[in-house]
């Protein structure tokens, strides 16, 4: 079928105003939140129902048109970057929150529902949806599930996977499968929903999610600890965990990052210290008071220059919101901002942090580092210029050195952003031959014609 034929067929499935095909409409769908990756798709379609998604998939299968599924396009590994000639299936119009069930502590939503709206809907029932990726104000829950997104609260509350109870999936042949259910316990068959969580759009299209909610914490306290050395901040994190305290957030910003965030958000972050730890504890008021006091004491005994407590909820929210924008705020310094997401076991944090600093010096590069220190998840961010070939070459060599060192320390190439295109070169190195091959066999079994997000994760 010709491109025009496909466009006509899509229009008859979803309506003419739900299909985009002009250059002006396609250029803005050529990229996601990942730096320096772009490819113009052949068309974009906006289905409104699961049945329409299934019909689009059948049409794509019949015409051998690759599909790239997309939500708000905020991903940071290139997962939603189009592949050549592809059809982008954009789910932003399927954004309804279908049900909050306070008796079962669950929430059912369409994939295009915005992450923050989901937590707000839960909040109206005194409930809580904890995963809070940096882009939660605009990221979609479908994208979060497909990438198994993390966030600032991973330390205590885990990641998206820990909250997915059920999924509705359109498979590569257009069949609709329902996986999982509202039961707390369920060991019937393979846990297929888990296969689709973090599958980055390569196995199926998520058209509905059933999420687990938890009671909303009654109290929270947010603190900032300031350090003259990054190692002291890293040691503080290890000491807090060793003291059997699991705060909901232990976020770290280095001097460069804190400076950029303060330029943007004006929330009173200090810009003259080497490291800032944003610490937050939540839960029962008595437990919160106790943990906060202990964390402050530990920070001070690890040479924190100062420990400040947010005066009220508004200030605490401002600090967390400012931290969420750290990555984009770093773009203030140089034209191109390349984000890493290496993660190491927490005992290796201080080693990794020093290695990153040494690598920056060795390759004469500017790196701003921040991250979820409590999770061992760091975001060294290269501040560079994609037009400078020599510098970009050094960036790639430094990146390779950091990833290799991460793997030596028993870490992972991506803690929460996914493999997509950005981490593809190192996946085999991390997984080893047997598991890498197994993964490709799974892909071939579920999507034999390679229709869904081809070329992502592996070839």
């Amino acid at each position: 079928m010709s491109r025009e034929g496909v466009l006509d067929a899509l229009a008859s499935i979803c309506g003419a105003d739900a299909v985009l095909s002009s250059a002006e409409d396609l250029v803005p769908y050529s990229f996601d939140g990942t730096a320096a990756l772009k490819m113009r798709p052949s068309a974009v379609v906006f289905p409104r129902t699961t049945a329409q998604v299934a019909e689009c998939v059948r049409l794509a299968a019949a015409t051998s048109t690759p599909i790239v599924t997309r939500g708000s396009g905020t991903g940071l590994s290139g997962g939603a970057v189009p592949t050549p000639g592809c059809l982008v299936v954009c789910l932003t119009h399927m954004d309804a929150i279908l049900e909050v069930d306070p008796r079962n502590l669950t929430l059912r939503a369409q994939p295009g529902a915005i992450t923050q709206r989901i937590d707000e809907a839960a909040g109206r029932h005194g409930l809580f949806y904890p995963p809070d990726p940096g882009s939660q104000r605009i990221s979609t829950i479908g994208g979060n599930v497909a990438e198994n997104s993390g966030g600032l609260r991973g330390l205590k509350y885990g990641v998206t996977r820990d909250y997915v109870m059920g999924l509705e999936i359109v498979l590569a042949d257009g069949q609709i499968a329902r996986l999982g259910n509202a039961c707390v316990k369920d060991v019937a068959g393979y846990s297929l929903k888990d296969l689709f969580i973090g599958s980055e759009g390569t196995l199926g299209i998520i058209t509905e999610v059933l999420l687990k909610l938890v009671p909303r914490p009654l109290a929270r306290r947010t603190m900032l600890a300031l350090y003259d050395s990054i190692e002291d901040a890293a040691e503080t994190v290890s000491a807090i965990v060793a003291a059997r305290i699991i705060p909901c957030t232990l976020e770290f910003l280095d001097r460069v990052t804190a400076g950029c965030v303060e330029d943007y958000a004006h929330v009173g972050l200090p810009t003259d210290c080497e490291a800032v730890l944003l610490m937050e504890t939540d839960g029962h008021p008595a437990a919160v008071a106790d943990e906060a006091a202990k964390m402050e004491e530990i920070a001070r005994s690890h040479q924190a220059r100062d420990v400040r407590t947010a005066r009220n909820d508004a200030e605490a929210l401002q600090l967390a919101a400012a931290r969420r924008n750290a990555f984009a705020a770093l773009a203030r310094r140089r034209p191109t901002t390349i984000l890493e997401g290496v993660t190491v076991p927490r005992s290796e944090l201080a080693t990794m942090v020093s290695f990153i600093a040494a690598t920056a010096a060795r390759y004469e590069l500017q790196i701003g580092t921040f991250g979820h220190m409590g999770d061992g998840n760091l975001h060294p961010t290269f501040l560079t210029d994609e037009r400078n070939a020599d510098e970009m070459d050094r960036v790639h060599r430094a990146l390779d050195a950091i990833v290799t060192r991460t793997l030596e320390l028993g870490g992972t190439i991506t803690g929460e952003h996914g493999v997509g295109l950005a981490k593809k070169p190192w996946l085999r190195q991390q997984m080893g031959d047997a598991s890498y091959t197994l993964m490709k066999q799974v892909k071939r079994a579920v999507d034999p014609h390679g229709l869904l997000n081809p070329g992502k994760m592996f070839d």
Binding site: V27, P28, S72
Partner: protein, 433 residues
């Protein structure tokens, strides 16, 4: 002459497409399509700069669908200067005449090219308009349905036209006015165009409030348009010409502050240096000017505004505050107007949901994009109604006209006033008690 091709590429590259602007963009919110979002528009501009896309009518339409509200600039962690990109794109579009239609060209020449270049002619046109509104001709035209002979856009707008004032700022304010006692500051007061024709009393009120706070007030006359309308609508050369005239009329070194009370004007007035950076003769004066321009609320809070002893109304009132886009996003001024309102006795300030969401006025947007403008107005009116306030305060004449009409058409009796006017009322009532 800067175009998308010659613009410093770093300005375009600054956008790292993180998407944080999307939830704050009223047009993306309406369609959920990337082209209608800031990062989508920037991607189009970058494709044009890279030669991957040519300047097309579709691009021109997209740029006129953009409100230019600059909410994205507040949201942007990366610090993208969207205002500069937006104005450059619109200027490219005008140069290529992509929107060219004979009637559009005629009306642009009359308005941007003539009336808003010549303050005396603008006032004369204002007087004609007032005569039309007051003489019974307007009533007759409407009664006999003669508006059907107007072009459709005008016919639709005719009933929306704001009432022109009987006397303009220069008749209400002397060129130099001195405060009681010794003057602590010397300021210049800018009276604007729409403010001058429709709300000259806001200018009088501003002068009164400045005088009550120890400022000697110079109000040079006749003042040219600041050029904001021209810059926003792709007439960069005319905007530069007006900036030069303004700099000649109001030398910045003579004043402690150059005060403006209209959000839309202020946002433009603060960037003369950027506008005239290639003009050797005016560059330095423009830099000095930018340092002196102050929004009226900002200036009053800076100098420690005196709390009035009296209430603005005889009965207690509830007020809510709508942020003009170019005051909040263009100038980052959100706290000061609220601080002044909270200072007023007998007035309770209640928060307005989505207070920084555009009301749809956006310069000439109500003319060029009526459907989207109406949708935004309805949303704004619903938010205002849900506060239960009986006064809506806002600091931009475009917002004031738009929101007042929206409230009137919805049958809501809410007074729309400038915060400075409320302050002026309170000072005046000090003498009554």
């Amino acid at each position: 002459m800067r175009t998308l091709h010659t613009l410093d590429y770093a300005v375009l590259q600054q956008c790292m497409h993180c998407g944080m602007c999307l939830p704050t963009c009223p047009t993306y919110d309406a369609t959920k399509k990337e082209r209608n979002s800031p990062r989508g528009r920037i991607a189009l501009m970058r494709a044009i700069a890279d030669g991957e896309l040519s300047l097309t009518k579709t691009f021109a339409d997209e740029m006129s669908y953009c409100l230019g509200c600059l909410a994205c600039q507040t949201a942007c962690p990366a610090g993208v200067n969207y205002a500069a990109l937006f104005e450059t794109a619109r200027s490219d579009i005008e140069r290529e005449q992509l929107n060219a239609a004979p009637s559009r060209r005629f009306w642009r020449r009359v308005s941007l090219g003539f009336l808003f270049m010549h303050p005396r002619s603008l006032r004369a046109a204002g007087r004609l308009m007032r005569a039309y509104q007051r003489s019974g001709i307007e009533a007759a035209v409407r009664q006999f349905g003669l508006t059907r002979f107007l072009p459709p856009a005008l016919a639709r707008l005719e009933p929306q036209a704001p009432r022109i004032a009987s006397r303009f700022s220069n008749q209400l304010i002397a060129r130099q006015e001195m405060p009681k006692g010794t003057a602590k500051y010397r300021v210049a007061l800018l009276t604007g165009c729409v403010q001058d024709l429709v709300f000259p009393e806001v200018n009088r009120d501003t002068a009164d409030v400045l005088l009550a706070n120890g400022c000697a007030v110079d109000t040079p006359s006749p003042q040219p348009c600041c050029g904001s309308l021209h810059a926003h609508n792709g007439e960069a050369d005319l905007a530069r010409e007006l900036a030069r005239r303004m700099l000649d009329l109001v030398p910045p070194d003579r004043y402690d502050a150059i005060v403006t009370n209209a959000g839309g004007c202020g946002s433009h007035l603060r960037h003369y240096h950027h506008l005239l950076e290639d003009d050797e003769r005016f560059r330095e004066r423009a830099r000095a000017w930018d340092h002196k321009v102050r929004d009226a609320h900002e200036w009053l809070v800076d100098i420690g505004c005196r709390p009035p002893a009296a209430a603005p109304f005889s009965r207690p009132a509830t007020v809510t505050y709508h942020d003009s886009c170019h005051l909040a996003h263009g100038q980052k001024i959100t706290q000061q107007p609220r601080a002044l309102l909270e200072m007023l006795p007998g007035l309770t300030l209640v928060p307005l949901n989505e207070s920084t969401w555009c009301c749809g006025s956006a310069g000439v947007y109500a003319i060029t994009q009526p459907a989207q403008a109406e949708a935004l107005l309805h949303r704004k009116v619903a938010n205002i109604a849900s506060t239960g306030a009986n006064v809506l305060a806002t600091a931009n004449p475009g917002c004031q006209i738009q929101i007042a009409r929206g409230l009137r058409e919805a049958g809501r009796s809410v007074d729309v006033m400038h915060p400075i006017s409320l302050l002026a009322r309170a000072y005046r009532r000090e003498n009554d008690t």
